[in-house]
Amino acid sequence: MYYTLQNFTAHAKGTSYVLAGLILVAVVVFWIFLNKKVTRK
């Protein structure tokens, strides 16, 4: 329970920054997956 706006914002933004970091990592993985050339025998 967040009793002040400052506490709420700190929590929400903190979670968002962690998520944004994970998304940046996911972007790199996604880009490699998207562009990797598939060689077929």
């Binding site: 998520l19 997956f33 998207l34």
Partner: protein, 387 residues
């Protein structure tokens, strides 16, 4: 000169009969709406003033983004290999905006006052005024972009040369206008935080609408290309293999756009700390929309591009279009007035569905009329390779 329409079995073909019946019946409903008022043809009330027609206004505009999406790719980003799809994409976009204007007139009534926002009482502080102005300008821009098709059909070389010369300028203007009105359609809902469910409401809803319009536009290009090849394959100059290559390329664009959209949606949930809503019934429906119609198509597009699977990409494009339709209807109808008891909720009247089907049929009939007569899917013999 003017090419004759193909003789595909005379006037009374099954397609013509079915579409004719729909147009006659739907047209009658429209006449009744204007004769007896909105209450006769809809279930709208003083508490629910926006209904199915408003929802489909948002749908038509979102899916009409095929025009700006492909012209931007070809004329601004230099992806000229997609040029064969530009004219069908712009025409489908133009038809989307035509249906938007028609359904707006049916909803508002008083069509003779259509010029009021521009000449009589411009509400410059209103989001709706900005939408009206941008849509009017963009509709005009798309019409001008399509005039070379008509000029080639009529043999008006000088007029064609003038318009082709300003294509890049029209594309830039069109992109600028599209970004404005696509996002502002979302911004309309910024004024109703209490009415729209928190999972769909966001201060970033204009951004959501703009990104999903790009997604819908790319998917519509894929589907329009498929339908044109299936129905008028003999007219299309590009081969099936070339169309498959272009589809695979568009799949990559779709994957990237959907990935951005999904990331924006997730960060939005986090910034407003809306996680607890996901554990509710509304949350389950939200997850169906975001996981089933955003994340899943994103992964399918990526896989289809990587493994060079055009059929998978076409199926995914259909899934994406359904997702955009679902999102727009969720925002405007389903999740709107979400706190109301079930007996107070709005459910569309059957006539509203008929009018929507009537308009979609009208769009298909006009598209077909143009594709069968004008150089939409091929280079006119007099101008081969010149545009």
């Amino acid at each position: 000169m003017i090419a004759p329409a193909e003789n595909r079995g005379g006037l009374f073909t099954p397609f013509n009969i079915i579409t004719g019946l729909i147009l006659v019946f739907g047209g009658a409903i429209v006449v009744l709406r204007f004769a007896y008022g909105l209450g006769y043809a809809t279930n709208l009330t003083h508490t629910t003033t926006w209904g199915l027609w408003t929802g489909f206004k948002l749908v038509f505009v979102a899916l009409a983004a095929s025009g700006y999406a492909l012209t931007t790719a070809v004329y601004i980003f230099g992806m000229h290999e997609y040029h064969p799809l530009v004219r069908p994409a712009v025409l489908s976009g133009f038809m989307g905006y035509t249906l938007f204007v028609l359904i707006l007139i049916f909803d508002l009534g008083r069509a003779w006052r259509i010029y009021y926002p521009f000449l009589v009482r411009p509400g410059v502080t209103s989001a709706l005024f900005e939408i009206a102005l941008c849509v009017a300008l963009y509709y005009t821009t798309q019409f001008v972009e399509l005039t070379p098709v008509g000029f080639e059909w009529l043999g008006w070389k000088r007029w064609r040369k003038v318009v082709v010369g300003v294509t890049v300028g029209l594309t830039v203007f069109g992109l600028f206008l599209s970004m404005l009105h696509q996002s502002t359609l979302g911004a309309l809902f910024l004024s109703v935080p209490g009415k729209l469910h928190p999972l769909w409401y966001s201060p970033y809803i204009p951004l959501h609408f703009f990104i999903s319009s790009a997604v819908g536009g790319i998917s519509m290009v894929i589907l329009v290309g498929l339908i044109c090849k299936r129905v008028w394959g003999h007219k299309m100059e590009i081969s099936r293999e070339k169309l498959d290559q272009l589809t695979i390329g568009l799949g990559k664009g779709g994957a990237i756009a959907l990935a951005i959209y999904f990331a924006v949606k997730v960060v939005d949930i986090s910034l407003a700390n809306k996680w607890h809503y996901l554990a509710t019934g509304w949350g389950a429906w939200y997850l169906v929309e975001v996981l089933g119609f955003v994340l899943l198509p994103c992964l399918l597009f990526a896989y289809g591009h990587r493994e060079k699977l055009p059929r998978l990409i076409r199926f995914t494009a259909l899934l994406t279009v359904l997702g955009v339709i679902l999102n727009r209807l969720n925002v405007s109808i389903v999740a709107y007035n979400w706190k109301f008891a079930i007996e107070q909720r709005y459910f569309p009247y059957w006539m509203e569905y008929v009018v929507v089907i009537f308009l979609i049929t009208l769009g298909v009939v006009v598209f077909r009329w143009v594709a069968q007569r004008m150089p939409l899917l091929y280079d006119h013999p007099s101008y081969k390779g010149s545009h």
